[in-house]
Symmetry: C2
Subunit: 149 residues, 2 copies
């Protein structure tokens, strides 16, 4: 399949881990990706970068919490729950911007000190109770920029 | 864990299938979610809604193409490759906007007539060859709006 090339087409440039994590910290929301009932699932959520990890909050009984709970109960026969987290800042008119994807193990935060610190920085957007805080340790970090050629 | 409630906190409203698909057609890009090497994978990509399906283009050998090819080769023992597609339009300052997630079976488009139609409407943002067009049939459609309370 061929399409007419655009006169001002963009080039994809990979960006490194440090810059990718810095970019993640410049935005307040992204999307967490996980597997629920053997199907790919994705939810937009706001985040902070705390101690080198992506931290999000979710409702108890929301999809990701369910996946983590199943996991903890041994219902899912895997050593760890791996999730992806994506954020981007793209301009569809200019067709420029960046996207970052972090893949890593998700764990429920239980340390009271850390929970207090997170609660001060990470405010739920919605009025339902967001009672679970989840940290994603960035094992694999990839990022790209769309730049002019 | 409790956080100070925001004075102008938002309420989540579910939106129906028809409205969700209409919203998808108002934006030009989103994120395709799939499983690659047993890990959750996500890629930002531009799309069009064609004949009730989400259509995206991808590079041969890019992650999603690989997943589809493995699938066609019988390397993945599943009847169909299920993916999710997410688009949103969120204002992190006002904390309002919408998000739509479509889950369905991804298939490579081979019909030359349809490929021609897609090529006219869906232009790759980057200068690499986008030689595979993929249609996602919306089996499960969910959407939400963040609105003032």
């Amino acid at each position: 399949m061929t399409a007419e090339p655009l006169a001002d087409q963009r080039v994809l440039r990979e960006i490194g881990r440090a810059e990718a994590l810095d970019l993640l910290a410049t935005v307040t929301y992204g999307r967490v990706v996980f597997t629920l009932a053997a199907l790919p699932a994705i939810r937009p959520v706001n985040h902070v970068v705390d101690d080198g990890e992506i931290v999000i909050r979710t409702r108890r009984l929301a999809g990701l919490s369910t996946a983590l709970a199943d996991h903890a109960d041994g219902a899912i026969d895997q050593p760890d729950l791996v999730v992806a987290y994506e954020a981007d800042h793209l301009d569809p008119v200019e067709r420029t911007g960046w996207s970052v994807v972090v893949t890593g193990i998700a764990t429920v935060i239980t340390d009271p000190e850390r929970l207090r610190r997170i609660a001060e920085r990470l405010h739920p957007w919605v009025d339902s109770a967001m009672d679970t805080a989840i940290a994603i340790a960035p094992e694999i970090v990839s990022g790209m920029r769309l730049v002019t050629g």
